[in-house]
């Protein structure tokens, strides 16, 4: 049990440090690579929580899809020699103050609220149950999200077209 807790602590530290790098790094490309570490850390947490399907989904969709999109966005919108735009930020003290306000509320919620009693669940594969649930209880959200994805596909292609093809 001791090794498991040490591993949890290490992953938690790595995730929080990389999330902090995302927030406070001056260069956007550094933020993007720190985001990679944070997302992998979250996938490791899902393994701890016996969510095997979700951990793989996290790696495939977030790290393989969204992060590549973000890196693509960073590299398309940044000239390499462009140093002035990179370091412009909003006032740091205001951001920190707002973050502290949210932190106080969240800490009160976490430590004050009476959580339901903990159930001891065994580590078991969840893919079967997720597949059955999606086709029974969660069928309506599943269909809605399929329509949404179709809309996003068409909308993103329409938005990203070049000017001369538009009427």
């Amino acid at each position: 049990m001791e090794a498991k807790e040490l591993l949890f602590l290490f992953i938690a530290l790595a995730t929080i440090v990389s999330a902090g790098l995302v927030a406070f790094s001056n260069k956007l490309i550094h933020s993007a690579f720190a985001l990679l570490a944070a997302l992998v850390g979250f996938a490791a947490f899902y393994v701890f929580l016996s969510a095997d399907f979700l951990a793989v989904t996290q790696v495939v969709i977030y790290v393989g899809g969204i992060l590549i999109l973000i890196l693509f966005g960073v590299m398309m919108t940044h000239r390499i020699y462009d140093t002035t735009l990179k370091t412009i930020h909003n006032p740091l003290i205001l951001s920190i103050l707002s973050g502290t306000a949210v932190a106080v509320v969240l800490a009160l919620i976490i430590f004050r609220s009476p959580w339901a009693p903990v159930i001891n669940k065994s580590f078991a594969p969840t893919t079967n149950a997720i597949g059955a649930e999606i086709l029974t209880n969660y069928l309506l959200p599943f269909e809605l999200i399929s329509v949404l994805l179709l809309g996003v596909l068409i909308g993103a292609v329409f938005l990203a077209r070049t000017e001369e093809h538009k009427k």
Binding site: L54, T57, A156
Partner: protein
């Protein structure tokens, strides 16, 4: 045994860092990164609740739908950002205020 609260604390810290990212950066892609951090921390909460206080796995299903929504949001946001960059060669969100007055 790792308690439910430790997951909630980690997720709260990442949530706060995401909010600070959104408020601190002026670059639109940086703000998108903050949104991704926030969505991930919420997902971690859902999965932790599914493991610790739910007899079923409803939290994991909600987390899957959130991941799909995050992917579509990132795709549309980047399309908009690329269009913005093509129009005015910079993606500072404080400079995009034509509709303000």
């Amino acid at each position: 045994m790792i308690s439910l609260q430790s997951y909630l604390i980690v997720s709260a810290i990442v949530f706060i860092l995401g909010i600070i990212t959104i408020l601190y950066k002026k670059n639109a892609v940086g703000i998108l990164m903050g949104v991704e951090l926030i969505l991930n921390s919420v997902n971690l909460n859902f999965v932790a609740f599914a493991k610790y206080i739910d007899t079923h796995i409803n939290g994991q299903l909600v987390a899957i739908f959130i991941i799909i929504l995050a992917a579509s949001e990132a795709a549309v946001a980047l399309a908009i950002i690329l269009n913005l960059y093509r129009d005015r060669a910079n993606i500072d969100v404080t400079k995009v205020d034509q509709m303000k007055n």
